[in-house]
């Protein structure tokens, strides 16, 4: 994915060293990282750019939420929302939420019948038994963020 980004892993590391937070967060490069971990596996200095990018994304959620590519933010929100609701990621629910967020109602619609035919798309899934435990995790993590003075990550 580095080919599609403005800042590549080494640029990101350099900018972090030079504390160019604003420039980094104003760009969507960090959101285009797929966490394939190649940078981390090959860094001769044993650094972990993949984790740094994760940390930057976390920062970006609270410091520059407007800068996150809409489709990607919508995807992550929809995903976490679905997990928080049912304890698992139901693809139907995820896609539904995503489409409501992005307004791309028609995208991939043609694929729906073939998906259903192949038994790959199930209707809205019921929650798991221990969904309260999952919600507890979301709430505790939100608490921890508030305690650190960070804003809540809002799924």
């Amino acid at each position: 994915m580095a080919g599609e980004t403005r800042f590549r892993p080494h640029d990101v590391m350099r900018m972090v060293q030079r504390d160019q937070r604003a420039r980094l967060l104003a760009d969507d490069s960090i959101w285009l990282c797929l966490t394939c971990e190649t940078c981390t596996a090959r860094c001769p200095n044993g650094l972990d750019p993949a984790r740094v990018v994760d940390a930057l994304r976390e920062l970006s959620m609270t410091e520059a939420p407007g800068r996150i590519p809409k489709a990607i933010a919508a995807f992550h929100r929809s995903f976490l929302e679905e997990v928080k609701r049912t304890g698992r990621m139901g693809e139907f629910g995820l896609v539904l939420r995503y489409k409501l967020r992005t307004g791309q109602f028609m995208k991939d619609v043609g694929a729906v019948p073939s998906m259903v035919r192949r038994g790959k798309l199930k209707p809205l899934a019921p929650s798991i038994k221990g969904v309260k435990g999952v919600r507890r995790i979301f709430e505790k993590c939100a608490e921890a963020r508030r305690a650190n003075g960070q804003e809540e990550v809002r799924p």
């Binding site: 580095a2 080919g3 590549r8 080494h10 640029d11 190649t38 090959r42 860094c43 001769p44 200095n45 044993g46």
Partner: protein, 676 residues
């Protein structure tokens, strides 16, 4: 009554930062027997030493304690100062409050407390020191040089020209080392063999040099001026006395496809072989692992196989039954010059190191290392100096060179810089461009480190005159794409990815010490760092000495070195050794054992444990010559002062001077705060 002076050194800030030196001096001032206790910024400086000398005279001191660095650092300095002040030097001792205190602790209060305790301990010891006289021992004026590469050759020649006898030991069948494999050398592009081979011949012909090729050091005993080296002469299977180097044997050998070590695996050799035409000595050796006759024997076949080389030899020099032989040589000094090996690019890596799977772990035949490229570029190489791909023998139109493979990579390889790669890669691009006109040379580098006379100019020449393309950045991976190698990397200066279709890739792999260096270092009792490089005694002021007196180090076995460095170090070791040999006798510390012959019962337990055979029998007779008893006596010239005899003696009648029971008990007591 003891009158001790204590001198506390701040060592600039090295001690003062974590130890309150003034407080240490104050505390020790009140210690029984101490009549003078002061602190000073730099005790080892001239004014510091003058302070000690002055106090000895003014306060009439009977002992001196310098609380400063390790005795290994400055004991000699301060003993000389004490002597200058009129005191027997052995009445001066050091309390180590730097290496053993200020540098390893951060808590100032605790460190100060500990420094005081260390000071007290040594004060108590010095109170019990007695004047000792220096021992003089003879020097064997013959040097052992281990390793016959350029460093060993230079050291041997300088020593021999300076009048010393030299024993040169080389583990390979020929001297010459890696330098003999090189095509041309930076920064002058002069032919490596043209400058090296005359020196190799000179070694062979020098009346003062005895060469043991295909030999290794088995063991080393003794001490400075008086070493005894045992050398294993590996079975060459060719009688060196009879062989005249005609080469008939190698012509008839049936094994012709053994990868040649000299050609870095790119060329082939026979099983009986001379590594290269200019080898010194020009005597073949049989590689028993690959020889048909020995292989048959190893398989248990009784019938004698092959033997063509023996038939071809008119001198009858081939000797299949030869065995390893051992010779001993007495020498006064040792120079270690065992050189380097390259980081392997294969998948199998030594412990702690990883290979480079993203570069194919050496599975792509046209990915080679620097030494292999040297062989391709060398007129004496497998291609006669033409640059051709190992896979199909075609000249490569594009070569990509990757620097820092293994070097500067603490994650997968080693963190140090191998120093020579920037320069030899620049040289490689030039050699390539001179030989393949229109060829494209691309270099991926992290930094260009060209510090050396003419080096920066040389690497600029590669770029500006010969048109090598330098790309700052690393290659993320490469793979075979039909006949070419796809090289994908990143140009950090342009800020964009690059992809190059290369015909050949040369990896500038890291320099590592020779395998087995640890074993050798242990035989020599010299220390080595965690990479296996031999440690010098002091990184700045004693760069060619080791921690063991009489053993010196030159070349790439100490750290990555280029040829000028290795040669300079070699000459420096020669100067050091010749300096040592300029004296007929060496002075040695009188830390030797002495027997109290009144107490000795003559059980000779000491004789059994003495590693040096220093214990002799002495007859005690009365005035009329009647034998009263036989007691032990220690030969002070042979005794090395380990003190094992003293710990063993049942009647406590032998004592190691400078480390007597009384002195050690006083130290133990002092640590407990008991001062008598």
């Amino acid at each position: 009554m003891a009158r001790i002076g204590v001198f506390v050194c701040h060592c600039g800030e090295n001690i003062g930062r974590t130890v309150d030196c003034t407080k240490v001096a104050e505390a020790l001032k009140n210690h029984p027997g101490v009549v003078e206790s002061v602190d000073y910024k730099y005790m080892c400086s001239d004014p510091g030493q003058a302070l000690i000398k002055q106090s000895i005279a003014e306060k009439n001191l009977t002992g001196v304690v310098v609380a400063a660095c390790s005795p290994h650092m400055h004991e000699k300095t301060f003993r000389r100062a004490a002597f200058g002040g009129g005191l027997n030097p052995f009445l001066c001792e050091m309390a180590n409050v730097r290496e053993h205190c200020s540098w390893i602790h951060e808590d100032k209060e605790k460190a100060t407390e500990k420094a005081i305790a260390i000071g007290r301990t040594i004060v108590e010891k010095v109170k019990r020191n007695v004047p000792l006289e220096t021992i003089r021992i003879p020097v064997t004026k013959r040097a052992l040089v281990i390793g016959g590469g350029i460093a060993g050759i230079q050291a041997a020649l300088d020593l021999a020209d300076g009048g010393a006898e030299v024993i040169l030991v080389e583990k390979e069948p020929s001297i010459g080392g890696h330098m003999s494999q090189l095509s041309e050398t930076f920064p002058t592009l002069d032919c490596s063999q043209c400058i090296l081979t005359p020196r190799m011949v000179e070694v062979y012909q020098h009346p003062n040099i005895k060469l043991y090729s295909y030999s290794e050091l088995e063991s080393l005993e003794g001490y400075i001026g008086n070493f005894k080296a045992t050398i294993r002469k590996k079975a060459r299977s060719v009688n060196e006395e009879l062989c005249n180097g005609c080469g008939a044997c190698t012509q008839v050998c049936i094994q012709k496809k053994i990868p040649s070590e000299f050609d870095a695996g790119l060329g082939k050799r026979t099983a009986i072989y001379v590594p290269f035409p200019q080898a010194v000595p020009n005597i073949p050796v049989i590689d028993r692992k690959n020889c048909a006759r020995f292989k048959a024997k190893a398989k248990g076949i009784l019938k004698e196989a092959c033997g063509k080389c023996a038939e071809a030899c008119l001198k009858g020099a081939v000797d299949f039954d030869q065995e390893d032989r051992f010779v001993t040589e007495e020498v006064g000094a040792v120079v270690v010059a065992t050189g380097y090996q390259l980081y392997t690019i294969g998948k199998d890596q030594p412990e702690g190191l990883q290979g480079y799977g993203e570069y194919g772990y050496g599975t792509i035949p046209d990915v080679i290392d620097g030494l292999q490229f040297e062989r391709l570029a060398s007129a004496s190489g497998p291609t006669g100096g033409q640059i051709l791909r190992p896979s199909d023998g075609k000249p490569p139109k594009t070569i990509v060179f990757l620097q820092c493979i293994g070097s500067r990579d603490p994650q997968k390889g080693i963190e140090y810089c191998s120093k020579i790669c920037c320069m030899y890669v620049a040289k490689h691009t030039m050699l390539y461009k001179h030989k393949v006109h229109g060829g494209k040379a691309v270099v991926f580098y992290m930094d260009i480190r060209a510090a050396g006379k003419g080096y920066e100019e040389f690497s600029r020449r590669a770029i500006e005159e010969d048109g090598a393309i330098y790309i700052r950045g690393r290659v993320s991976r490469m793979y075979r794409d039909g006949q070419t190698i796809k090289v994908q990397g990143f140009d950090t200066l342009a800020g964009e990815p690059v992809e190059i279709d290369a015909d050949m890739v040369v990896l500038a792999t890291a320099m590592r010490p020779q395998p087995g260096i640890e074993t050798l270092a242990q035989k020599l009792s010299v220390s080595y760092d965690r990479h296996g490089f031999i440690n010098e005694a002091h990184p700045k002021l004693r760069p060619v000495e080791t921690n063991t007196a009489g053993i010196f180090v030159a070349g790439a076995c100490q750290s990555p070195r280029d040829i000028p460095d290795a040669v300079a170090m070699a000459s420096a070791t020669a100067a050091k050794v010749l300096g040592l040999f300029s004296k007929d006798q060496l002075e040695r510390e009188p830390t030797v054992a002495k027997v109290n012959q009144d107490l000795c019962a003559g059980c000779f337990s000491c004789e059994h444990v003495c590693p040096y055979g220093a214990v002799e029998h002495k007859e005690i007779r009365d005035r009329k010559g009647v034998l009263l008893k036989i007691v032990a006596e220690v030969n002070g010239g042979v005794c090395q002062g380990c003190g094992t005899c003293q710990a063993t003696c049942p009647s406590k009648s032998v004592e190691l001077q400078g480390f007597t029971d009384e002195q050690i008990y006083s130290e133990i007591n002092a640590l407990a705060g008991c001062v008598e």
